[in-house]
Amino acid sequence: QQPVQSPQAVILREGEDAVINCSSSKALYSVHWYRQKHGEAPVFLMILLKGGEQKGHEKISASFNEKKQQSSLYLTASQLSYSGTYFCGTARMDSSYKLIFGSGTRLLVRP
C-alpha cells in the first residue's frame, strides 16, 4: 500500500541534478514531497494534486503522471543544503485524509 520510491540513495557533486521517483499501485488524489534532515522534522516541499494543480517552493519542481500514478521530484543544480532524506507521501482517492509515506531516498550532496 505504501508508495515505492527510487532510488534508495543518491550521491551527487554540488551542481549536479537528480530525479527522485515515487509510484503507487492505487489511484491517487495527491502526492506530497518532504525533505528531512537528520534529527529534524520533515519539511514540506511540494504538493501535486489530481487535475494538475501544484504548490510548492519556487526552486523545487515535480511532476505527477495521473495515468501511471507516478510522481518525480527534480533537484537541479544541487546545493549542499539539499542533503537529507526525501519522502513522498501519497493520499488515495478513497482515503484522502490519510497520507502514506514511502521509505525515503537519501540524498548526499558533496562539495
Partner: protein
C-alpha cells in the same frame, strides 16, 4: 513565521505507563495529524483529526491510542499503556486545508523502558 510546537521534546517512561504528548498547531489550521517515526525508518501515519473528530486512522492507532483537542489551541496524543515498541519520534502536523501542505512540529522522542 507560524510554526507547530510540541512538548515535551523527550519523554522517558516505563512500560505500562500512560503518556500524553502535546502539540500546538498553527493557529488558523483546521486539520491535525499525528505521525510516528521509528529511528531510521519512514514516517508512519497514525491519525487525522478535523472538526473535533477523527477523520482517518491507521492500523497502528489501536485502542491504546486516543487524541483530543481539549481547548482551542492544544492537540494531544495519549498512549494508555506504553509498550517497548512505542519508542519512536512522534510528530504532530497541521494544515489549513484537508490534505493541503502539512507543517510538522519538531517532534517528541518517546523512549519506553
Amino acid at each position: 513565521e507560524p510554526e507547530v510546537t510540541q512538548t515535551p521534546s523527550h519523554q522517558v517512561t516505563q512500560m505500562g505507563q500512560e503518556v500524553i504528548l502535546r502539540c500546538v498547531p498553527i493557529s488558523n489550521h483546521l486539520y491535525f495529524y499525528w505521525y510516528r517515526q521509528i529511528l531510521g525508518q519512514k514516517v508512519e501515519f497514525l491519525v487525522s483529526f478535523y472538526n473535533n473528530e477523527i477523520s482517518e486512522k491507521s492500523e497502528i492507532f489501536d485502542d491504546q491510542f486516543s487524541v483530543e483537542r481539549p481547548d482551542g489551541s492544544n492537540f494531544t496524543l495519549k498512549i494508555r499503556s506504553t509498550k517497548l515498541e512505542d519508542s519512536a519520534m512522534y510528530f504532530c502536523a497541521s494544515s489549513d486545508l484537508g490534505l493541503g501542505e502539512q507543517y510538522f512540529g519538531p517532534g517528541t522522542r518517546l523512549t519506553v523502558t
